[in-house]
């Protein structure tokens, strides 16, 4: 959040938020990845923001946070060497399809992208052996056993291909034969998935929904999808297309701000260099804490997801609280130095919202009888600022 509020490149931060949510991990789902979620964003999302989609997905597939979050780290090939050994000891190890399914349904092809249950299983077989190092620690991490007994630091956790877990033999996935090639099979499958036309369409729809409107025009989706296919998912190119789309700026296409987006916009508008302290609590109250979606689908991205009556009141309250804190009295920096609160002229805030002439906001902001803090809160808590 700090980066989002203070960034000199807010568009890049918006992309970080988008991709981080697209390939999300969730800490409440697997508390043992708490220390890895921030790393995941730095190591998987940010480096590939303007790179290739397949590199981002591949990085995500190999990151310990994702391997644990969607259980690929506990998936064992039923005919692997490890499975045979475990079977002799009376265990029944097997595949875990969780990651394979979400990789198809949520990360690449989309639920109607043209795959069947047998493809989910084949992909799960292909990805067996994609594991994490430091087996003892990894084991505890995966099973969520006593986190206080750390057999290693986070630095010890890294991707490792474990051939003894890998399902041997050729696999048939999406009608294509994948010859037995160990770790390489997974790389090939992910590259193929990312270049599949269904993936281009699925991501074009999702991007258009995020950057244009909840129900984007089909031509817009087509244009993004076409550009995606032409550039093999080059995200620098695709992002450029998004900015160049007239629809992205058209007044009739407006988007209701999701909570993190709204909070970021408010804090940027008042010139807060830094995030006020209880940011986690604020995001909790707004129902969109970082790295905590309730399912691997990530947070919703439409007005229907966020514009419920209670949330509008919650925002009104947070706007008021934030304005009061920013505009009254002095604040103390961590260094102990006292600084004057931010100076915000409420009438100038009219420029940051898009209201037609004659909107009651003009009158209210010019009304000196209303305290500056309240006028500021009216901008951020009012309807115009809920849209971008």
């Amino acid at each position: 959040m700090r980066a989002r509020v203070s960034s000199a490149a807010p568009f890049a931060e918006r992309l970080v938020a988008f991709w981080s949510n697209h390939l999300c991990v969730s800490v409440p789902a697997k508390p043992q990845i708490a220390a890895l979620a921030g790393l995941y964003e730095r190591q998987v999302i940010r480096p590939h923001l303007f790179g290739r989609f397949e590199d981002m997905v591949l990085a995500s597939a190999r990151h310990p946070a994702m391997l644990v979050y969607l259980d690929n780290a506990v998936s064992i090939g039923p005919n692997s060497a490890a499975a045979r050994k475990l079977a002799r000891r009376g265990h029944e190890p097997g595949l875990n399809e969780n990651y394979a399914r979400e990789l198809l349904e949520l990360h690449t092809l989309g639920v109607h992208g043209g795959y069947a249950q047998k493809d989910v299983e084949a992909l799960a077989r292909i990805l067996t052996g994609w594991m994490i190092t430091g087996f003892g620690f990894a084991d505890r991490l995966v099973r969520g056993r006593d986190r206080r007994d750390s057999g290693g630091s986070d630095g010890d956790v890294a991707f490792a291909y474990q051939y003894i877990l890998h399902e041997p033999g050729d696999k048939r996935f999406l009608g294509v034969k994948y010859r037995e090639a160990g770790e390489e099979e997974g790389r090939r499958a992910i590259t193929d998935l990312c270049r599949n036309p269904s993936t281009a369409r699925f991501l074009a729809t999702k991007l258009a929904r995020h950057f244009v409107s909840d129900e984007p025009p089909p031509e817009t989706v087509d244009r993004i999808a076409r550009h995606w296919v032409e550039t093999d998912g080059d995200l620098a190119e695709v992002s450029r297309t998004l900015v160049e789309l007239d629809e992205s700026w058209a007044a009739e296409h407006r988007k209701f701000r999701a909570p993190q987006d709204w909070l970021t916009a408010m804090l940027r508008a008042v010139g807060a260099r830094d995030v006020p302290e209880p940011i986690g609590r604020l995001l909790q109250q707004l129902r969109q804490p970082l790295w905590s979606p309730s399912s691997p689908k990530g947070y919703g991205d439409t007005k229907a997801d966020w514009a419920d009556p209670d949330s509008l009141l919650n925002r009104a309250e947070l706007a008021r609280r934030t304005a009061d804190r920013l505009l009254s009295g002095t604040r103390t920096r961590p260094s102990g130095e006292s600084v004057r609160a931010s100076q915000v002229d409420p009438t100038r805030l009219l420029d940051i919202v898009d209201v037609p002439a004659g909107n009651p906001l003009e009158t209210l902001l010019a009304d000196d009888a209303i305290a500056a803090a309240e006028r500021t809160a009216l901008v951020f808590g009012g309807p115009a600022f809920q849209w971008r």
Binding site: Q285, S294, S295, L312, A316, D324, L364, G382
Partner: protein, 390 residues
């Protein structure tokens, strides 16, 4: 700003107008209501609904075993723990079915997976599926509304049918002047005006129940009763929800559960108090309200080394209300012998949560088996318990 009935109509109808087309079925005469109370964290069924008549109970629970004289006796060798004693009122009125040795269909000791199963109503974890309460709303015909009383929209109510949410946060700085001015601003935004009005309405209902001050004071009744009181106020409003989800955390008692007056018992006391407060606050609406109390899993049969219990399998739950056919304990008791325990450590499940939930919704909303299976897809092998509700 004080047009309560009109505004709540907006809340129920105004938000529902953009819902997907629905399947029609005959409306029940009258108006059934369902309140699903989820106790997040896995509450200890063996501490709440005590099987004192099981010959292994005392040796298994050791220092954490109750004497039958401490309990509210339900007969058949079961008793309610001291904290739950306020529920005797419901038991005597014939409004309390106590369910035991019940579990979700999927074996997991993960809170997240367990809650996901209970809330999606599916057989296995499924990353992106919606909640069963939302599917229930989608099935219904005519005027209806869903409400979540929770810090966020719970999975159980998420889905295509729009529902309202109300979170019990402290609302301190929303003075009337500020709200009046915001109201002027929202009036100029046609896409959001109805929602803002509905929000104001909910706030007014909640503050009428004096919950803000109660919650700030965290008085004798603890944090549960004020939330339950507010939930009842919403239910009781004209046009109020007929499907509601309420949730409370704090049940993951790994350490120092204690006995009568201990930490778990106090929490059980709060939920019992909350249920009674809800019933009182509902007034006439109580007659057609049914409440189901469930948790994602039970806990280990034996105490652990820290005076608590760890994540287990089967546990207990409650079906409450005047529509309950009679007060009784519903269980196919598996016993607590070593051979009877699931994986040698947990109470063994003999009853699927969906058998209860399907039976309840069939009774409350007069649904056919085909309907209940659409609410709980893939549950055709699970026979609903129909005689829970009359």
């Amino acid at each position: 700003m004080r047009r309560r009935e009109f505004v709540l109509g907006m809340c129920a109808g105004g938000l529902a107008t953009f819902a997907a087309p629905v399947v029609s079925f005959a409306r029940v005469p009258g108006r059934g209501r369902l309140v699903f109370v989820l106790l997040r964290g896995g509450f200890d069924g063996l501490a709440a609904v005590v099987p004192y008549g099981d010959p292994r109970y005392h040796s298994l629970r050791g220092a954490m075993a109750y004497d039958s004289s401490d309990l509210l006796d339900l007969g058949d060798g079961f008793g309610l723990s001291p904290g739950l004693s306020p529920l005797s009122e419901l038991w005597d009125a014939g409004e309390l079915a106590v369910v035991h040795a019940m579990a979700i269909p999927y074996r997991t000791r993960s809170h997240f997976d367990g809650q996901a199963i209970l809330e999606t109503g599916l057989e296995r974890p499924d990353g992106s599926s919606d909640g069963w309460l939302n599917r229930l709303l989608q099935l219904m015909d005519g005027e209806r509304a869903g409400l979540a009383v929770a810090a966020g929209l719970p999975r159980s109510l998420s889905g295509d049918y729009p529902v309202a949410t109300w979170s019990p946060v402290e609302l301190g700085v929303l003075d009337d002047g500020y709200l009046e001015r915001l109201h002027v601003l929202y009036r100029a935004d046609r896409a959001l005006y109805d929602r803002f009005e509905a929000g104001l309405q909910m706030r007014e209902v909640a503050s009428n129940s004096e919950m803000s001050s109660e919650m700030r004071g965290r008085g004798r009744q603890g944090r549960i009763a004020p939330v339950m009181r507010a939930a009842a106020r919403f239910i009781e409003e004209p046009g109020g929800p007929n499907v509601a989800a309420v949730e409370f955390g704090g049940w993951d008692t790994h350490a120092n559960q204690g006995m009568a007056g201990g930490s778990l018992d106090r929490l059980l006391g709060q939920i019992a108090e909350g249920i009674i407060v809800f019933r009182e606050e509902c007034e006439e609406s109580w007659a057609d309200t049914t409440m189901v109390v469930m948790t994602e899993f039970g806990r280990t049969a034996r105490p652990n080394g820290t005076g608590g219990t760890d994540h287990g399998t089967a546990g207990a739950g409650f079906v409450i209300g005047p529509r309950v056919s009679r007060s009784r304990i519903v269980t196919d008791w598996p016993g607590l012998g070593d051979q009877s325990l699931y994986e040698g450590r947990d109470l063994k499940p003999t009853l699927d949560t969906r058998a209860i939930l399907k039976g309840v919704i069939a009774g409350v909303f007069d649904l056919t088996a085909a309907h209940t299976e659409r609410v709980f897809p893939g549950s055709d092998g699970v026979r609903p318990i129909y005689d829970l509700i009359v």
